[in-house]
Subunit: 148 residues, 4 copies
């Protein structure tokens, strides 16, 4: 299975007074997973993307389901896969589980853009090659959009 | 038009080094809008919901589109409306615009729950009455889910 | 009294599961107060400082006391004054109170720098003039460093 | 040398549009270091402290120096030591370096308190024993307060 994995233990900064993870903090985790994937799996650190490459990679859409809340101290195992690699965008899926329980399912589209003009840009070829290693099989993404 | 409005100027804490708003910070703004709506429009401050009422109100799903990026200093006008009021949940929509330009469109479902057991709870009647003032007309939400 | 004031109600994003404000969130508030002061009192918005002016203004030191914790829903009245205006830096003090109770006292030094090279820069003259309106009287800052 | 170490690579969420770390994010890192130290070195995870133990551990003061800014992608090596173990509080020091360059020096006091009443509490004996392993030698903290 071609998923990149990242483990995050829920910390004080992630939680609100109910003791559960505060929605925006899930998206901080999502970005942490993506930045670590870019660095470790694609060998393309975000500091290079924004720095010498003069690029940026914002989300243009995101869909998320939170079937169960997470609490302080929970160990979340995040998985990232690629649903589709397009000319200058990437449709990715992420999930977070604690043991057998699903906590988060997210799909979203990242667009590669010039940092100044925000015009879209083609993926550099060696990066596109490495991204393909995380593509989910075609049948895995048929059915409903956020199916596992 | 039954939308609650909230103006937020994009600050340093909202932006990443590309100079554009960092995705998770949009969701911080979303929560700020919701908490101000609860307080000002529903007269039901979050400190009471989590405090004496012993309740919490997490998102169980969220769909967001970001047609254009926002930058430091942009004045975002947020609007919140209710698409559907259910027994113990709320399907809301939020948008953020700068002038005539749409920056964010979000729909999501909040569930009213007991803070400890996280069992769902009916909306208190007076709160439900006030929520109804923000319901969008039926025709406005036909068509695609995140239509304006 | 030459203090700039800013009111902030403690929100979900500010608090951790104990129900009290999470230390780093106080520093988010500090930055919100400073950015609003720059904009409203000095007519020098942070988007201009970092944008067309090509400058930045990081802290080089900060001292803070938290005599009592703050909780969700507390109304914090922040006050900002200037203890000393130097060639390219600013020694400021901020405090937050709820009613008669002091919650935070902070002093810190901001340095005006070029955004790229991070070399220090003199304050523009009209800005320096406006800053002087927030100077605390000499006697007020004698004695201990964080005296009110 | 009795310091606990924690490595953090500066990420998008840590930085503002100047490309340097945003002050409040340093304090997020400080808390991450402390929570990992509590868990890994003291075997006393924050989820237990706030959960079954019914305690909390807020800062009552903090002093910080930032001799040089940090940028996206910088690898920060954080070190935590204990300057003084008191009945119900802890005077700690933290530093962050990148290579030979000092980026942050922080000292601060954490107070162990009951989560509800916020009355101070004695350190549990086994925890106090483990804390002592991180005490800096007496001579190391003489002289100026934030000496290494």
């Amino acid at each position: 299975m071609p998923a990149y994995q990242y483990v995050h233990d829920v910390m004080l900064r992630d939680c609100e007074p109910s003791g559960i993870v505060f929605l925006p903090r899930y998206f901080d985790m999502v970005h942490t997973v993506i930045e670590n994937w870019l660095d470790e799996a694609l060998d393309w650190p975000i500091s290079q993307i924004l720095g010498s490459d003069g690029l940026t990679m914002p989300f243009v859409n995101i869909n998320a389901e939170f079937p169960a809340p997470s609490r302080l101290g929970d160990r979340l195992t995040w998985r990232l896969s690629v649903r589709e690699l397009r000319r200058s965008s990437l449709w990715i899926e992420l999930s977070a589980t604690t043991g057998a329980e699903r906590r988060v399912t997210i799909t979203g589209t990242l667009v590669l853009s010039e940092a100044i003009a925000l015009r879209t840009r083609r993926w550099p070829d060696p990066i596109a090659e490495r991204i393909k290693e995380y593509l989910v099989a075609a049948e895995a993404k048929s059915g409903k959009q956020v199916a596992e």
